[in-house]
Subunit: 381 residues, 2 copies
């Protein structure tokens, strides 16, 4: 392929990527996909998939072209994921592409749901365009498909010496305003956020996205038997007080716990006090990453953000059940305090090794983003 | 002053700074000073002070001009520190400047050793040129003069979660080769390096500068009654074995300790075994920062690098007796291990707050340089 032609193709594919990234994981449990329709080097239509039940990106792009008075016949289509060839809630995209006389189909990532190679009558099909970049966008979806669990991000703020709180447990706003803004941006992009009950009791956090102004208004629907806007907040255990919790304000909270009598008693007391909407209680067998990840997976979550505290984060670190780690380091030293220290540990040579992906200065704070994956990949959202 | 003229002056002053930085703190306990002699916009001579007993930078610059066949008469001189007007081991520079008919004297930092303002007959004297930058170079010297202690740098490598070693104390080469190179560069620039005896026993380190190829060959002389090349290594306490220690290879080690019988016994055993040169034993009243800093100050050290372990570093952190902190963060998580945790701590709101000065990526490691000073300044070496 000529260099010029390759660059042209990649540039349209990047446009498809940008469209996919617009929707992020709000499509859960479906993948985010973008598509661009091009005729005579001009974009005549574009679209992205909005989630389960909505038309696929290819259809959105074709329909947007027609709506704007263009004929898709003879056009090229650029899609971030291989067009489907099966019946789901919508007909196969391969049929639609054929029907409208699309001439060439460029796609990035091969879809694991598509079985084997296929042909589209009258069209040339070229797969694997910027596949590595395409995979980065689809990483939560690919993890969901292959490993039957959400893509897991651990996030916390610490002092230089690795303390998440002082020795009396105080931790609120260790890091700066700028760090908070980045956290809110991340929260707006994930399906589920998990915290331990001690964090809720100590800090009574909102866990919201209020500082991220450009957040997507699309919502993940029909989870856990109700309609939960994105992100759903999960609390591990039942906090000592529920009525006054700030996380409730968004009306999308799930408390999960091991079903012991004391915990049930707290719930009963709460329900008799207040008939809140969209607050759920779920009992799981054990408090461990497998159970928690199964819960999220079964509720269709592509992404889970674990925000702490140290005990909850350590659950995932210890079992190496996460994909990436976000650490904010504030320019402080506590000496003693709450870190991962009071728990078990790795010995030298067996310690958890990560790969540094991003490093940013935020005033006097720093922000570090690590990949914990063997393939060293990281989610591009 | 015209903008052009100011830029011209600053550019020659920066040349004087570069000369001062060449010698670093090897001049201890004298300050590093550079001087540039300029005639008709051309550098005709340059020099820097090489240490106690050697000519001052001004003299070096004037003599280099004469040696190269230039007449200093009518020239401008640019010096990073105010020229002296008193007799030390050399005559006052003000007299020399006058003698050679220098027309204008530009200097950066006002010297605390000079009392009041002075005039140099036949010359115009302009002080405070790029004074802030000049002070950064002289920071160890200014600290030494004002606070009667060396400029203290704490340095260590840790895992992301703030562990300097695993729970069994293993720590050697937590960080990468690139981090080590930067450490060796720093070591080559300081007068004294301090470690605790446990670090010596656990890691048996060289504490040398072998990876820093361009190190200055000039040596700090006549310290602690002998001739110690720069840097002098201080070990806090007497390690269980001395003969096999790698730090001895450079022949510039001082063991300081609180004089208890058991420690004395170890020394006696060592001395009877081996008559090593340039290894000294000093007893101090208490193992605390004040005593250690007094020891270094009295031996003319402008700079002290504290390299650990956690217990030794914490001595200085706890009492806020340091100027800057160097932290290397390796992309690892240990969970439990040796951090500052087993010691006392600051509570939220009272914790040690630092100012981030530099942030660098070194492969998968990161390097952080913080100022702990109230004036937020940092040494430019």
């Amino acid at each position: 392929m000529a260099d010029f032609e390759r660059r042209r193709i990649e540039s349209f594919m990047k446009k498809a990527f940008e469209l996919a990234k617009k929707i992020g994981t709000k499509t859960a449990p479906n993948p985010p996909v973008g598509a661009v329709l091009v005729k005579e080097n001009k974009v005549i239509g574009e679209g992205f998939h909005k989630g389960a039940g909505f038309p696929h990106a290819e259809v959105e792009a074709i329909e947007s072209a027609i709506k704007n008075g263009f004929d898709p016949k003879g056009a090229d289509i650029f899609v971030s994921l291989q067009p489907c060839n099966f019946y789901g809630r919508t007909p196969p995209c391969t049929q639609i592409i054929q029907k409208y006389g699309i001439k060439r189909v460029f796609f990035s990532v091969y879809d694991l749901n598509v079985e084997g190679k296929y042909e589209i009558k009258g069209a040339e099909v070229i797969g694997g365009v910027l596949e590595k970049e395409g995979k980065k966008i689809l990483l939560p979806f690919l993890t969901f498909l292959k490993e039957r669990r959400p893509y897991v991000i651990l996030k916390y703020a610490q002092s230089i010496d690795g303390k998440l709180a002082d020795r009396e447990g105080r931790s609120k706003y260790i890091s700066s305003e700028k760090s908070l803004l980045l956290t809110h941006r991340l929260r707006a992009k994930v399906n589920f956020i998990l915290v331990g009950k001690k964090t809720v009791e100590a800090d009574n956090p909102h866990l919201d996205t209020r500082k991220f102004k450009n957040r997507d208004i699309l919502k993940m629907k029909k989870f856990i038997g109700g309609e939960f806007p994105n992100p759903v907040k999960i609390v591990l255990g039942i906090p000592n007080f529920i009525k006054e919790l700030k996380i409730k304000n968004g009306n999308n909270v799930v408390f999960i716990f091991k079903g012991i009598d004391e915990e049930f008693e707290k719930i009963r007391r709460f329900i008799s006090d207040d008939k809140a909407n969209n607050i759920s209680f779920f009992s799981i067998k054990e408090i461990n990453p497998s159970e928690i990840l199964s819960f999220v997976y079964e509720n269709g979550g592509l992404t889970l953000l674990v925000e702490g505290g140290p005990k909850t984060l350590w659950l995932f670190i210890k079992e190496r059940k996460f994909d990436e780690l976000w650490v904010f380091i504030a320019p402080k030293i506590f000496g003693g305090g709450k870190g991962f220290d009071f728990l078990d540990s790795f010995l030298f040579g067996e310690e958890l090794n990560l790969t540094l992906y991003e490093l940013k200065r935020l005033g006097n704070d720093i922000f570090l983003r690590y990949s914990a994956r063997e393939d060293k990949m990281i989610w591009d959202f």
